[in-house]
């Protein structure tokens, strides 16, 4: 549905996006993850036709954004990073304008306005001037604007930034719902967000894609080393020392009354751990294998990137 090929963007001499390529298939929700200044917004602005690429091209539903820009843009609903609101309009007249810009006729706009107002929980604010809305509600109006014309593709640039936790949860729920009949690319630098909403993640750092995979694959793929979480009753210091001596264990840490141990790839120290505990007279309450969190993956990937340079 979205095909990005060899996209490069220079701002003057500054390289913001460096030869990236990826696809988003129909019906997918893909997370575009990266730290500040990674090039997320730049990439999204190119996909939506707000900026022209320096090199490369983008196809949205098989229309390329350079030569068939209007057709491509027709397929897209876009929530920019800075929500594009006319603060002197009411929510209703703003949605009406947004609908008309996308070529909808009056009857359809009226019907759809009621629907998106309900979807985005804006019932009480339809006739309020946008300038008087709080950040969270402006955010919802931004989403309403992006979906009013029922676009095939949704591009959401940091849709949960700057709103309170309850509304974040609501917005995430909403995005998952929308994912049922839209193809969605959403950017974020919040790691758990991706695992909650997305099926696939593309990690971008300093303008380059450093990883791209399904969420579940990614964590197992990345764990070249394995990690276990243990609960043991007994003296922390002694146990830690003993664990460190076990063959294959690289690192032991104690967090929130759990021991987290990291072992070298291909090693399974579980049997030996049990033996050691019995020998020390401590009770092993539980032991489970844990995948790497996205945070770990992210730090690892970006660290590797830097080491390569």
């Amino acid at each position: 549905m979205i095909r990005v090929e060899n996209l490069t963007k220079y701002y003057g001499k500054r390289l913001a996006v460096d030869d990236i390529s990826f696809n988003v298939e129909k019906g997918e929700i893909v997370g575009f993850l990266g730290p500040n200044a990674a090039g997320k917004t730049t990439t999204m602005r190119i996909i939506t036709g707000y900026l022209a690429p320096t090199q490369g091209n983008v196809w949205v539903a098989d229309h390329d954004i350079i030569n068939h820009s209007l057709e491509a843009r027709r397929q897209i609903g876009y929530l920019p990073e800075a929500i594009p609101l006319y603060t002197d309009m009411t929510v209703r007249s703003y949605l009406d304008f947004a609908g008309r810009l996308r070529g909808m006729d009056s009857a359809r706009i009226i019907a759809r306005t009621d629907e998106v107002i309900e979807i985005c929980h804006l019932e009480e604010y339809v006739d309020v001037i946008i300038g008087k809305l709080s950040k969270g509600f402006r955010q919802r109006v931004g989403v309403a604007q992006a979906i009013i014309h029922e676009p095939a593709v949704l591009i959401l640039d940091e849709p949960t930034i700057g709103i309170d936790p309850i509304q974040v949860a609501m917005t995430r729920q909403l995005i998952r719902e929308l994912g049922k009949d839209h193809t969605i690319l959403l950017s974020t630098h919040i790691l758990p967000e991706v695992s909650v909403i997305c099926q696939r993640v593309i990690i971008i750092h300093e303008g380059r894609i450093v990883a791209e995979d399904r969420i579940d694959n990614l964590s197992s793929m990345m764990s070249g080393s394995q990690r276990f979480r243990l609960q043991i009753s007994g003296p922390v210091k002694k146990i830690t020392e003993r664990l460190q001596k076990v063959k294959g264990i690289i690192n032991v840490s104690y967090e929130e009354s759990n021991y987290i141990i990291e072992c070298a790839a291909g090693q399974d120290p579980r049997r030996q751990i049990m033996d050691e505990m019995v020998r020390g007279g401590w009770t092993l309450l539980s032991m489970e294998q844990i995948g790497m969190s996205l945070e770990d993956i992210f730090l690892k990937l970006t660290a590797e990137e830097e080491a390569d340079e």
Binding site: Y11, R45, T48, G49, Y50, L51, A52, L70, E71, R73, R74, I76, Y78, P80, A82, I83, P84, L85, Y86, T87, D88, M89, S93, F97, A98, R100, L101, R102, G103, Q145
Partner: protein, 236 residues
């Protein structure tokens, strides 16, 4: 065409919803009314020269204020991102903005019809120069709007837009007066290019097609430049 109308209508509505258009219209009415009432041409010639003559420079100034926000504000507020990622051509955006502001200019000029109506009520004015005078000020106004929109497309700062627009307009107006200091051929050429060159003809009641074509060309030229400037911002 539909997109152009959508944008034009939105601009017109937002003009009518904000104090700026009312302030500008108010100033225009008060000042032109004042000049009209003290001008001897009003009483001795029963003409609207008293309104049209000082009205022109005032118009250049006020148009710069009216148009300054049209694109600069969109850029600043980020709404340009909605506007130009919608399936709308850049030319439709610019044309819509132009027609919306032309709507306000038209309303402003309709309000001034009060002056000729007074003349008709109390005297027997020559209708010809009134008609051509209005045509002239309307054409001048529309050319100025195009210049203002171009200036507004260059920046995200409204004040800068107004100053640039005013600068271009006054330069184009007064460049005609420098003609007398230049060698004849050059002077004549520069004169032709000046916003002020054809204006007196319209006030006198003469319809000069070259004048009409001139003002329309300036309008088209600056609207075209505004479209290019909008396109260019994608390549930043």
């Amino acid at each position: 065409m539909k997109n152009t109308a959508t944008i034009a209508l939105k601009e017109l509505k937002s003009y009518l919803a904000s104090p700026m258009a009312y302030i500008v219209t108010g100033i225009f009415m008060i000042l032109t009314g004042f000049f009209f009432s003290i001008s001897s041409s009003t009483y001795y010639e029963t003409s609207i020269k008293g309104f049209l003559e000082p009205g022109n420079l005032l118009l250049l100034l006020l148009v710069s204020v009216l148009t300054m926000r049209l694109l600069a504000e969109e850029r600043k507020m980020g709404t340009l991102e909605l506007l130009i990622t919608a399936p709308v051509r850049d030319s439709e955006v610019i044309l819509g903005k132009f027609l919306g502001s032309l709507g306000i200019l038209t309303i402003m000029l309709i309000l001034t019809l009060y002056y000729p109506l007074l003349l008709i009520g109390y005297g027997d004015p020559d209708i010809g120069p009134i008609f051509t005078g209005y045509l002239g000020i309307f054409l001048l106004g529309s050319a100025s709007l195009a210049v203002g929109i171009f200036a507004s497309s260059l920046t995200s700062n409204q004040i800068v837009a107004a100053v640039v627009s005013g600068g271009i307009l006054f330069a184009l107006w007064f460049i005609g007066y420098t003609a007398t200091f230049l060698p004849e051929a050059a002077g004549e050429f520069i004169g032709y290019l000046s916003l002020s060159y054809y204006y007196p003809d319209f006030m006198r009641g003469v319809i000069d097609t070259r004048g009409i074509i001139y003002y329309l060309s300036i309008t088209a030229l600056f609207l075209f430049l505004a479209v290019r400037s909008l396109e260019n911002s994608r390549w930043s």
